[in-house]
Symmetry: C5
Subunit: 362 residues, 5 copies
Amino acid sequence: MLCEGCERMKKIIKSRTQKAGLPPGTLVHLGERREDSSRINIFKYSEENLEEKEIKIGEIPEKLPGEGEVLWVNIDGLHEVEIIERIGEIFSLHPLVLEDILSTDQRPKVEDYGEFLFLVLPMFYFSTDEDTIIAEQVSLILGNNFIISFQEQQGDVFSELRRRLRTKKGLLRRRGADYLFYGLLDSIVDAYFLILEKVGEDIEAIDDLLLEKTDSGLLREIHRVKREMIFLRRSVWPLREAIAKLERRETTLISESTLIYLRDVYDHVIQIIEAVETSRDLISGIMDIYLSTVSNRMNEVMKVLTIIATIFIPLTFVAGIYGMNFVFMPELEWSWGYPLVLLVMGLIALGMILFFRRKRWF
Amino acid sequence: MLCEGCERMKKIIKSRTQKAGLPPGTLVHLGERREDSSRINIFKYSEENLEEKEIKIGEIPEKLPGEGEVLWVNIDGLHEVEIIERIGEIFSLHPLVLEDILSTDQRPKVEDYGEFLFLVLPMFYFSTDEDTIIAEQVSLILGNNFIISFQEQQGDVFSELRRRLRTKKGLLRRRGADYLFYGLLDSIVDAYFLILEKVGEDIEAIDDLLLEKTDSGLLREIHRVKREMIFLRRSVWPLREAIAKLERRETTLISESTLIYLRDVYDHVIQIIEAVETSRDLISGIMDIYLSTVSNRMNEVMKVLTIIATIFIPLTFVAGIYGMNFVFMPELEWSWGYPLVLLVMGLIALGMILFFRRKRWF
Amino acid sequence: MLCEGCERMKKIIKSRTQKAGLPPGTLVHLGERREDSSRINIFKYSEENLEEKEIKIGEIPEKLPGEGEVLWVNIDGLHEVEIIERIGEIFSLHPLVLEDILSTDQRPKVEDYGEFLFLVLPMFYFSTDEDTIIAEQVSLILGNNFIISFQEQQGDVFSELRRRLRTKKGLLRRRGADYLFYGLLDSIVDAYFLILEKVGEDIEAIDDLLLEKTDSGLLREIHRVKREMIFLRRSVWPLREAIAKLERRETTLISESTLIYLRDVYDHVIQIIEAVETSRDLISGIMDIYLSTVSNRMNEVMKVLTIIATIFIPLTFVAGIYGMNFVFMPELEWSWGYPLVLLVMGLIALGMILFFRRKRWF
Amino acid sequence: MLCEGCERMKKIIKSRTQKAGLPPGTLVHLGERREDSSRINIFKYSEENLEEKEIKIGEIPEKLPGEGEVLWVNIDGLHEVEIIERIGEIFSLHPLVLEDILSTDQRPKVEDYGEFLFLVLPMFYFSTDEDTIIAEQVSLILGNNFIISFQEQQGDVFSELRRRLRTKKGLLRRRGADYLFYGLLDSIVDAYFLILEKVGEDIEAIDDLLLEKTDSGLLREIHRVKREMIFLRRSVWPLREAIAKLERRETTLISESTLIYLRDVYDHVIQIIEAVETSRDLISGIMDIYLSTVSNRMNEVMKVLTIIATIFIPLTFVAGIYGMNFVFMPELEWSWGYPLVLLVMGLIALGMILFFRRKRWF
Amino acid sequence: MLCEGCERMKKIIKSRTQKAGLPPGTLVHLGERREDSSRINIFKYSEENLEEKEIKIGEIPEKLPGEGEVLWVNIDGLHEVEIIERIGEIFSLHPLVLEDILSTDQRPKVEDYGEFLFLVLPMFYFSTDEDTIIAEQVSLILGNNFIISFQEQQGDVFSELRRRLRTKKGLLRRRGADYLFYGLLDSIVDAYFLILEKVGEDIEAIDDLLLEKTDSGLLREIHRVKREMIFLRRSVWPLREAIAKLERRETTLISESTLIYLRDVYDHVIQIIEAVETSRDLISGIMDIYLSTVSNRMNEVMKVLTIIATIFIPLTFVAGIYGMNFVFMPELEWSWGYPLVLLVMGLIALGMILFFRRKRWF
């Protein structure tokens, strides 16, 4: 397998080619089937009251909540298409929205349908069960006084938010659906820092390895992190645009006072983007050091070869001369011939070494 | 042949230089002659009725369809220029539009002529006959209640759409020409994912080969895929602008409700662009790994050479010394001389090996 | 000589430093003197009549043509400054315009002076006499019902246009000066594809050579083409802006119906830019392949050295051992000593070869 | 440790993951605890009077200063959250502002809350105690006639400003809070040049080292400086936007006459950005020289090896020939054989040397 | 010394850190003291009259010139701060303007103070005394009917302009201060081509050297030119913005008819920018050729080594075999043994040479 990034890309492409030619709004769940059965949870609250329960498909409230009340319907699991269809009918969602919810390969985007806002973005969270970071797609529908959230499977980053909903304290119960919408968005964005943390650890691990070994495995590791970063960047950049669009939006669904909070989320997204950019710079610096280290080792290898060879090749030549079998070679008969030749050899070696010293080769 | 990209480029340039100086609107078919004879098919439908037939040039309906009716004229094959001229007369198209239809080297663009919209874009589809991906240019004319489509040859991605037209169910029969226009556009864009799939497979194949061989053939293969990507990118980027222009368009030819569907097509085009960008990143990562692998192999070769040479060169020198023919060389007459020298040689070799070990060369 | 690009740059710089400090509007011909004497040609036509003749400086018509008539004055050769001055007086052109016409180093630009439009751009054409591509600067003045064109020397890309002017058929005679302006512009732009064709041929020639030799001459050739591309790009990019400016222009000099034709020219310029960009991508791909081929050859050279050296160095060492002159070397006296040693050597060589095979070195 | 940049990044990410899920406006000090106890200083001045003192939390003036008076409250140390809360109450600051003040990982930004402006930016100063450059975050609140500044610890760049406040001369006492705001901003920005100076020194030191050694330690040093630059750039770029925003601001808090001074600060920020960009160019040039020097040394090593080896290998071969023990080798018995062979060897060596000379190898 | 660019950068940084904390408008001359004493020259002219003289500080005209008259005050030398102060008083300039005039490290900018325009930009000119190109900063103040110009030292590019002022002919005397302003700007910009000429010569010199030697000195030379280009680019880019700003300006200080001339200056600045960009492309191409030449030489060195070594190593081995002292070696006693071995060696050598030929190594 090449990388997550391209696996994901392949998934997107596959699902698209499967659907090619079908009429728009055809509801087919494009993505892995992650759960056995879908679950529907609702929170219905006003400043005073709170109702929280898990319901079946038939129990989805058909009436919109009254003034001062907020309804949050959360669906875990997307493969039971009839649930999505039912909700589409009750809240009169556009067929294309339903289609987008079911295609778990969306790039983050926000769409304003007048009656409601549609936001889709990826969510990352740490699953203690599987001891790994899980990515799934969340779709949020913000209506006048309701929110519907669609997740691919159980488990999310909203537990702290639910706790705050259950207590009467805090702004959450006193403000409208738009503030809950902000709360959900903020929780998802805050969890992105998790991945940055993991990437940061990977970079440090690579940096440590760099001093020890320089095989092509390390290079592949560097590229793996690079690809993760590309993937993360592709997720966060459109999110930035989407939230900026929300801020500019003249929609009446988001109140003036909540917009200030959205600006805060926007700041966090910018921080994530900058962290990703910084990581990219770090990784490309590590890449340079890797390549330079490889070439430095090569240099050292060559130097050793050159030093050994250039010292001994002339010596061997001298020895070769006196190994010749000429009948008439006067030196051979001198009694000091042998020690003299050894001396000459020693001097040649010494000269070579001094030459290398002067060249600062060692 | 260098590459498809540059073949195409050459084609464009050639055809332009042929036409240089001719008055604008001169109808000459610029491109390969792909079919023996052109074919004209018409679909004429309202919610209730559907008429579908293949016609001759003389049978092209001269009257525009009535209220509530939609006419789709499809022409396969562009070299019978009289057909294009005839249609230009009947539907009063601008000469430059006819010229653009005949030049099968257009970059994707949309043009608003008030009475009608003109969209030209490439279409890719898998031909089961030839077992290969075929690229041709499609020109679409969207009028008030008619659509004219021009293709270079038979075979297209509209078969599913035709099936949906023939059945009474679905929105297609109930909506106007703009919705059919969307349908055609959507079918073409969806088919782009086909090429991405092929490119993805090529990238994976290269990635697998990378572990085995690193000859310059592989590099050329990498560049071939890179060029395909450049080519695809050049096709899709202007398409993005063209569809964005459609969305902004104040034309009355596209209804409000169809615009939402165009936004969906726009999203798909963005997804394709992102997939292309991701592929480019992957390919450039593969390029880095390729170059690094090549240099790592070189390193290994050099190391082997250095190890062998630096171990044996000093040993050979020692052997050379005792091969000298000096009359007075006391060591030669020692009875332990020979084993001693062998021992010394062994120690030198061992020392060298330990030195390389410490340097972590193997 | 380094390159055309920098020759041209030097020319621009030189001419500027010559003129430094002179008052603006000083008419000095900056550029090579390309012709011995200037020539003036006029076309005066209405739908019915056509007058075409070569005139002298004194014969330049002082009266603007009447309603329904179009006057095209073409000047070949810029060094007879008095002609330019005279025309400037008659048509009341701004001194800076005259100065720009005489400086044959302008980047393409369009300027609106209310009474007239001023467009300057380079023209490329194939001279059959000299069998080479010639570049010169063309300045066009578009007035209400006249056009003045200034060229550096005789020979241009307007012969087809002149032929069309002489025949009564076609739009050219029926439309105004703005349509002739479009015609001139279109002819010039269409001729750009000529150079692209030449560049394309150069690229292919380089690509073919790449498989055979990799000397630094080829690299210089690659850079020459690269520089031509830079040069072409520098010419075409500002032209794009200039024509876009024309399209946006609220000038009354260009009629609504001619604007559509300008849009067509704009499309061609975009196509040229894209072809240049594609060529750049191709060239940079060729560069990569060149560098990689060079390094692959190096690799192969090193491998051969390493294989030969590592096989024979140990063998030579073995031979060296039995060349030593020790009195006590039992192996020397064995009758099977010599064949045994040869066998050992053969085994060592075989081992080495198997080792290289396993390493996939050959 | 990899680098400051990524340490900082890690800090940001850590602090965010700690806070994930908490309601917005929860006041937790995110950052190192830098001081034991917080200090509050106030300056209250009009053109005539000046009151300066250190106060306790209970003594914070609850009444806003009168007309013509300016109040500057400076807080050193952020961990005593109750102080921040108290000030938030008195000056009715938005909870998100208080949260941002406490998070010492903000990117520079300006926010307009109508009643007050909020500016956050990093401050760098040279601490004579610790002989090092210290970075801390400063938050400035500009109200109608008050300024509140929050610093992480004692020590800042405002001492010159305080001195000017204490003297009656100068504009500072005569102008309003907005001019003091400008003064603070200007002092902070001017101090950025300090870091540029240090970076400049580092670059020069590296440049000097480059001539002497080329180990990978130097490369790491180059990358360290590169990372510092990335870090600095990330700090200054958003500051540029922030100040540009201030200039455009229609706020009534900043008077027309002070805006001109802000333009001056803006110019300084641009100068810093350009200096950073120039440093980046220098560093990347140094990088190129480094890599080229490494490869040149390699070249030289290879040349020495090649010269020695190619001179002696043929000589050794000649010696080897006459070391063969064939019974019938006529040369061996010639009385001039030995000197002749020596002569031949000398000629071979000379030929080689001349060959290398012609190749300009030394 | 690393480079001019960074020297200049250091100067800017140094001067800033010196001034840190001082109140704005503090007049300190930041820059080298270039002249011993400042000189003041005035030109006072109308269409009819011209008054030109050198004056002392006390003689600066306190009254603005009358209708139809233009006053040009030129100051050479900035260290006599009292002159600047005096002029500031008389013409009521903003303190920040005076400060900017004295800081000779400004990036080019234009500022509109309503009453007057302030333009600062670098000036380059060839000093015949010192036979070198000198760079200094020029500040221009354009008032209703006066111009004040501040230079760092004597010597400028205005001598031609002064000559034109002294003669009655030409537009200069007939037009207002804005036209003189244009004249000054034009002279300065035209002189920029001087440096481009020098850079062009440097590039050509490097290109010639490239064929001869490839030491790291050449690389440093390449980088020196690169840095000069970076420096020049940094000077000219902001100038482009500044002049574009002037063109858009609704100021009444520049008349409609002069704006056309400013457009001409703008065109020249664009030409300079393009020439700089072209030079950058040329330099980076030269860099590529340099690196490739270095690696090609390395290749050639390696090839020679490999050819020599691979030919002689096997031969030496053969010689080594027959140098062994085995008692039983039948070949040694053959009478054709020696010639046969020589023949075998010759064949081996020939085989190797043919092998290299086939590999196209030489």
